[in-house]
């Protein structure tokens, strides 16, 4: 961000105030501080933050930004883990915090229309009395917004059976870079024309700003059964996962935590996980009572082939919530084991779990950094969390290199760079691991078809040019602010 851009934006502040109102333009340094970061390691300073409450106002802001060549970054709750909401090139941050209304719930047609700033869990809570819910459930669902979920195509533990965000969005109102307000899809499940809805989901705010969203609502299941299975080793637990999927079972959720996670979760929330176990599986089945019971018997039988230490079934909703509290609180709890952790996100074929986790363990032993393994195991989505102390010289450099090595292993095993956190700033320079120059050029063309000025969330997704892991690492280190909690 140059000084000239900053001065230019300062000159525009009266106009921005006119568009969104005096109280909804923030340019005081103290106010801007909280918009410098998200849930990732990255930092970036916006010049101004505006908080519009209508698509029309967003359109006006985008037109003003475009005529002055100023970048605009949309922001939900700032819980993203890849730097997607970071104002890497300064400019205007467009906070969706005021666009937080559930506009319509249509029970007969099973959809809701919401504004992008609606908190994910609030929607399910709102429609629960109708016997409905919204399926994507990222771990941050108490805070993250549906608009942010669209930007990152977020998943969650229950997307194993029900799919990620893109599978649950019917249509959306968007504001294009030139200020045009239009709909991509509507409330129908199908239609004609290119799937602009689908291509916009997961595009990390680089193609359009989403201002209304029509989402599918599902019927709450008749019966839910949650089981905790503990194993002596993570290899046994991994083999059990492969066995379950290989037998054609697709539970609602199939999560795995290793001994580090068990220890941390137990210390923090006392979820009742057996501390001596090498790994636990949290398996949830839902649906018809008969179906759940039959499937749970089969899953138990598969798991018994791998000598489980214990199989425990939650007997009521309180016990089920307790088991889940450990899983949902585990990331925060890792702070009990080390001052910092670096969470890696990659996906591999589920048949490669044993092999890849073994390699991650070898990296941990070789480097001396403990790596806590938390997995959406049923999807093959790994979240190895490297424990470190940023105050120790060299630690940040080392853990970033380890993260890159783990991702390389994921890609080499037939997997991908990100399962649910997105590319953002964090992995943009690792894109060449997975994509050829032609693949990335084809994606760049998509961006150009939507906007030619590179003003919507610039500097994200695509490599910075060098395509080199070392440069990525150097940039990441440079961006990490003092005292950053990774």
């Amino acid at each position: 961000m140059g000084q000239s851009q900053s001065l230019k934006i300062k000159d525009l502040i009266p106009e921005l105030r006119k568009i969104v109102g005096d109280d909804y333009v923030l340019d005081d340094q103290a106010d801007l501080l909280v918009y410098e970061y998200d849930g990732s390691i990255d930092r970036g300073n916006p010049v101004v933050v505006v908080l519009p409450d209508t698509a029309k106002k967003i359109s006006q802001v985008l037109k003003l930004a475009r005529s002055n060549s100023i970048p605009v970054v949309a922001r939900g709750a700032g819980t993203g883990l890849s730097g997607g909401a970071i104002a890497e090139h300064g400019g205007i941050v467009l906070s969706m915090a005021r666009m937080n209304q559930i506009l319509e719930v249509n029970r007969s047609d099973r959809y809701a229309i919401v504004e992008p700033g609606v908190v994910n869990l609030d929607l399910s809570t709102h429609v629960a009395s109708e016997g409905l819910y919204y399926a994507p459930d990222p771990s941050s669902q108490r805070a993250c917004t549906i608009g942010g979920n669209i930007a990152e195509n977020s998943g969650g533990p229950h997307c194993l059976a029900y799919g990620v965000t893109t599978n649950h969005v019917l249509g959306m109102e968007v504001v294009l870079a030139d200020g045009t307000i239009t709909w991509f899809g509507e409330n129908e499940r199908d239609g004609i024309g290119y799937d602009l809805r689908g291509i916009t989901i997961g595009s990390e705010g680089t193609l359009a700003i989403v201002t209304k969203i029509s989402v599918r609502l599902l019927r709450l299941p008749e019966h839910v059964k949650t089981m905790l299975m503990s194993f002596e080793t993570i290899e046994d637990a991994s083999a059990a996962v492969t066995g379950i999927i290989g037998a054609g079972m697709v539970p609602a959720a199939l999560e795995m935590m290793d001994h580090f996670c068990i220890k941390a979760a137990e210390g923090a929330v006392g979820a009742g996980y057996p501390e001596g176990a090498g790994a636990v599986l949290l398996v949830e089945l839902d649906g018809l009572l008969e179906s759940v019971e039959e499937e749970s018997e089969e899953i138990e039988a598969i798991c018994r082939e791998f000598s489980p230490l214990e199989i425990r079934v939650a007997t009521d909703s309180l016990e089920r919530e307790k088991l889940w509290s450990g899983r949902k609180g585990v990331l925060g709890a890792l702070g009990r084991l080390a001052p910092n952790y670096y969470l890696v996100d990659g996906t591999i074929p589920r048949t490669k779990l044993v092999e890849v986790l073994k390699k991650i363990n070898e990296i941990s032993e070789r480097s001396g950094y403990p790596i806590a393994n938390l997995l959406h195991a049923g999807d093959g989505n790994l979240h190895p969390s490297i424990l470190f102390d940023e105050r120790k010289p060299g630690d940040v450099e080392n853990i970033l290199a380890i993260g890159a090595e783990i991702l390389r292993i994921c890609v080499d095993s037939g997997g991908v760079l990100s399962g649910e956190h997105g590319i953002g700033l964090e992995k943009q320079d690792q894109m060449p691991l997975m994509f050829s120059e032609e693949d990335m050029a084809t994606m760049s063309l998509l961006r150009l078809a939507f906007e030619t000025e590179d003003l919507l969330n610039p500097g994200k997704v695509f490599p910075t040019g060098a395509g080199c892991g070392d440069i990525s690492q150097a940039r990441a280190i440079a961006r990490v602010g003092p005292g950053a909690y990774i």
Binding site: N106, D109, R110, Y111, E152, N153, G155, Y162, V164, T166, T180, W183, E188, R189, D190, G191, I192, G193, Y194, D195, L196, G198, I199, I201, S203, R219, P221, G246, G248, V250, L288, E290, S291, E293, E294, T347, P349, R350, T351, H376, D379, G380, G414, V416, S418, G419, E420, I423, K427, M431, F435, S436, E438, D439, M440, T442, M443, L446, A449, V461
Partner: protein, 426 residues
């Protein structure tokens, strides 16, 4: 020259090309450099009638030799296929491992996976109401320039870069030619069957479908049809004006439970009659329903409506009334859970007082009045000029679609003038 390469009666004037693999496909496209040449990718040619009439075309790019199951990782519930494999061949190979791809389309012995995806073909088997695009986890596409690109991969969860495959599902081969696809698969239900309920009124059909979606029944497929379609398909069903067919599946106990729920629910409908078909008979029935638009005369008019479950109520009634008013036969098949409807109308006889063009435009109006969208899929070739089969797309979206087309195929090499238009290319 095979009949399948005739599009609205027009044959390719430069020739047929049968690439054997992605490299050949790439070479073919990169070698066609003369400005103005038009290439039409062709799979099984089961849906080639859709789209505006081309004045001429140069090359038929027939993908039927790219027909291999590249990999089936049954333990991971994924597979990779070449785009020219037929649905029938793929499902047969997957069945050996008790798995299937939750995608179906008419004439699966001919329809290829690539064509099914590219033309967003309707199908009845929608696992948990998912769309076929939700089964795609990775895709390799050859651009009009011959450049080979990929997105996604053989894993079930992925947010690495733009989800490029989305552009090509329903893109009618206008942005690139699909060469390879990675899918996630579904275990075959251990037991399957179909529950049939006949109603004397459209009201009963619609109410019952709403009740099903409010219940814990999870149909593998669900469709409603009118008497004309029942007769057309010669379905051995209870005597009725409207028939609902609910395909259920699962483990034995879950299957029995769903059947019990349905029987209990239907007891409240005094004008209803029921039947149950075990798997083989059920499969035969669904094959007829799946292929129904091919049963009519070549001159018939078929189309597809995109709507919501509740809007379908009014739409079904209004279209039915109108077609009856003008003395024609309308066969319809609705998918209430998905909010879509397929229809079939015999061509208006020459001596009729109502002109065919008036009729298709009036049906368009009825759809608009019910906040729904019609895409005519089959029109006699002489109707095509001057009538947009696709219906209207909102201007904001159309602007981006034009931009995408200009970006990826600036020479309009692929399927020029056929998509979302009645004359010029988008």
């Amino acid at each position: 020259m095979e009949e399948k390469h005739l599009i609205d009666g027009i044959q390719p004037n430069q020739g047929l090309i049968y690439p054997e693999d992605t490299n050949e496909l790439s070479s073919v496209l990169s070698d066609i450099t003369e400005p103005g040449r038009v290439v039409v990718p062709i799979g099984g040619a089961t849906r080639l009638q859709i789209g505006a009439k081309m004045p001429t075309y140069d090359y038929a790019l027939d993908l039927s030799n790219m027909n291999h199951l590249v990999a089936h990782n049954s333990a991971d519930l994924t597979c990779i296929v070449q785009s020219g494999i037929t649905l029938h061949s793929l499902q047969n190979q997957l069945r050996e491992q008790e798995q299937f791809l939750a995608v179906d389309a008419a004439f699966p012995g001919k329809a290829t996976i690539g064509g099914t995806l590219a033309s967003n073909a309707p199908g009845y088997l929608r696992w948990q109401l998912a769309h076929m695009r939700d089964m795609v986890i990775g895709m390799q596409v050859v651009l009009p320039s011959g450049t080979v690109t990929k997105s996604g991969g053989p894993v079930v969860k992925n947010v690495s870069g733009y989800d490029m495959a989305r552009l090509h599902v329903g893109g009618y081969g206008t942005l690139g030619v699909i060469s390879e696809i990675s899918f996630k698969l579904t275990p075959l239900p251990r037991r399957q069957g179909s529950f049939l309920v006949g109603f004397e009124s459209e009201h009963g059909l619609q109410n019952f479908s709403e009740e099903i979606f409010d219940s814990y029944v999870m149909p593998l497929a669900l469709t409603g049809m009118n008497e004309n379609l029942i007769k057309m398909l010669q379905i051995d069903a209870p005597q009725c004006q409207y028939l609902m067919v609910i395909r259920i599946g699962g483990r034995q106990m879950a299957f029995d439970r769903q059947l019990n729920i349905l029987n209990k629910m239907v007891g409240q409908y005094q004008d209803s009659q029921t039947d149950f078909l075990e798997q083989n008979a059920s499969d035969r029935l669904w094959e007829k329903v799946r292929d129904f638009k091919g049963y009519g005369a070549i001159s018939s008019i078929t189309g597809r409506v995109f709507s919501t479950p509740t809007r379908l109520r009014g739409l079904l009634r209004d279209i039915d009334n109108y077609v009856e008013e003008i003395g024609l036969t309308l066969a319809i098949c609705i998918q209430p859970g998905f909010g879509t409807m397929e229809f079939h109308i015999d061509k208006v006889p020459a001596e009729s007082e109502v002109r065919s063009t008036q009729m298709i435009e009036r049906i368009h109006d009825i759809a608009r009045q019910n906040q729904s969208h019609i895409n005519y899929e089959t029109l006699p070739a002489d109707f095509k000029n001057g009538f947009n089969m696709w219906g209207k797309v909102n201007e904001g979206s159309l602007g981006i679609m034009r931009s995408l087309r200009d970006t990826y195929d600036p020479g309009k090499k692929l399927n020029r003038g056929r998509y979302l238009t009645d004359k010029e290319d988008i």
